[in-house]
């Protein structure tokens, strides 16, 4: 599942373990790419947590609901690195 974890984070969470090698691959993929809104990634055995600046998204898109835009970016990133969300 993907959800807003507070006002500055989007978290992808799964029940199955994310192996160390998989985490390394995902982190390397995140580092290599440039992102529109995502600024940081924290990985654990079950989660990928993305940091973003909500106010920047709000002002860029003239909206007070930045979540969907950022979740779309997270989904697109997960698809590129072949993580099934």
């Amino acid at each position: 599942m993907i959800f807003a974890n507070g006002d500055c984070y989007i978290t992808y969470q799964q029940e199955e373990l994310i192996s160390d090698s998989e985490k390394t691959r995902i982190e390397a993929g995140f580092e290599k790419e440039t992102h529109t809104y995502l600024t940081e990634l924290q990985t654990t055995e079950h989660t990928l947590t993305f940091l973003y600046s909500p106010v920047k998204v709000m002002e860029a898109h003239n909206t007070i609901e930045p979540c969907d835009l950022v979740i779309d970016e997270v989904r697109a990133f997960l698809a590129r690195i072949e993580v099934t969300a």
């Binding site: 006002d7 654990t44 989660t47 909500p54 979540c67």
Partner: protein, 313 residues
């Protein structure tokens, strides 16, 4: 010479606004009270992200070695310099040899000291008694004007009034953004009671006591995020800036960034009440808070520029 830490208090640390890597091995995990950090910088004409001195619970005593413009913000601490009373959220000029001593008050936990022209650590950013803090002296034309004005009277006649900040700091109610995997009953339990701060592990977490929360630990490893509310030993634990990167304590939600200023000012014995909200509501509140901060900073700029113009006439 720069600023000398005469007495380092409980925890005095040079801190950046946002987390930053350090080639000296220092931990810059960001100011706990971002508003106070930015406000102190705004008052002295710095970039709001310039490093400040973050002092927790029992603040330090600072000695000045040259003319220095300062402001401090955050908890309702008072300060003294000789016979002179020094107040929160005001701009002061100190001279060589002056000492600034803070007097803790029952409310609040942290203050942030900003120095015009910026600061940097000589070695470790955790400051001990006898340490020096280097003044960067990156003075702008605005700083020069401030120096000229303050040479004549050593302080400005106004400051940001406590009442102006009441909206941010006064309430004991803390929003908690719901997670989709947590049952509604848990939020009902959290909302129905008042929690008392038992203690703070410095910059890591706030431990609170109240009615027990029975939440099954399903073994998910969570990322430690600022404001995360976890359940450990059936009690909420609230994550601060230096919280573990990873935790297996179940996470029930996250306190939004606009409530983290006042969270970091909570001291032992103070009260906390939770109110569960959705992310959409948190974002609406965040934007309102953002606009309020912008207007506050504009008001400071306006007051200062008016005063500087008056000085020139």
């Amino acid at each position: 010479m720069s600023l000398i830490v005469q007495d380092s208090g409980l925890l005095t640390i040079l801190q950046t606004l946002d987390p930053q890597p350090s080639d000296k091995g220092n931990e810059y995990n960001g100011a706990c009270d971002r508003l106070a950090h930015q406000l102190a910088n705004q008052l002295v004409g710095n970039d709001t992200s310039a490093p400040t001195v973050e002092m927790t619970l029992q603040p330090s005593v600072i000695k000045f070695t040259e003319p220095t413009i300062i402001a401090f913000s955050g908890a309702g601490f008072k300060a003294k310099s000789g016979d002179r009373d020094i107040f929160l959220n005001r701009i002061y000029l100190f001279d060589r040899g002056d000492e600034l001593e803070f007097i803790p008050q029952p409310k609040g936990n942290r203050i942030y000291l900003a120095v015009a022209g910026g600061l940097e650590a000589e070695g470790s950013n955790i400051l001990k008694s006898g340490d020096e803090i280097i003044m960067c002296r990156n003075y702008t034309a605005h700083h020069d004007e401030l120096f000229n004005m303050l040479k004549r009277r050593s302080q400005v006649s106004w400051g940001v009034d406590t009442y102006a900040l009441v909206e941010v700091y006064l309430s004991d109610t803390y929003h908690i953004v719901r997670r989709p995997d947590i049952p509604d009953e848990i939020y009902e339990q959290l909302e129905s009671a008042e929690y008392t701060v038992r203690n703070e592990k410095n910059r890591v977490a706030l431990y609170v006591d109240g009615p027990e929360i029975a939440l099954e630990n399903v073994g998910i490893e969570h990322a430690g995020v600022k404001g995360g509310v976890h359940i450990a030993d059936n009690q909420p634990v609230l994550a601060l800036n230096d919280f573990n990167k990873v935790t297996t304590a179940p996470q029930v939600g996250t306190i939004p960034s606009y409530h983290l200023h006042k969270l970091s000012q909570k001291s032992t014995g103070s009260k906390i009440q939770f109110k569960a909200i959705d992310a959409a509501d948190a974002h609406a509140n965040l934007y309102a808070h953002h606009l309020w901060v912008k207007s506050l900073f504009k008001a400071i700029d306006y007051k200062l520029s008016k005063e500087l113009v008056k000085e020139k006439m």
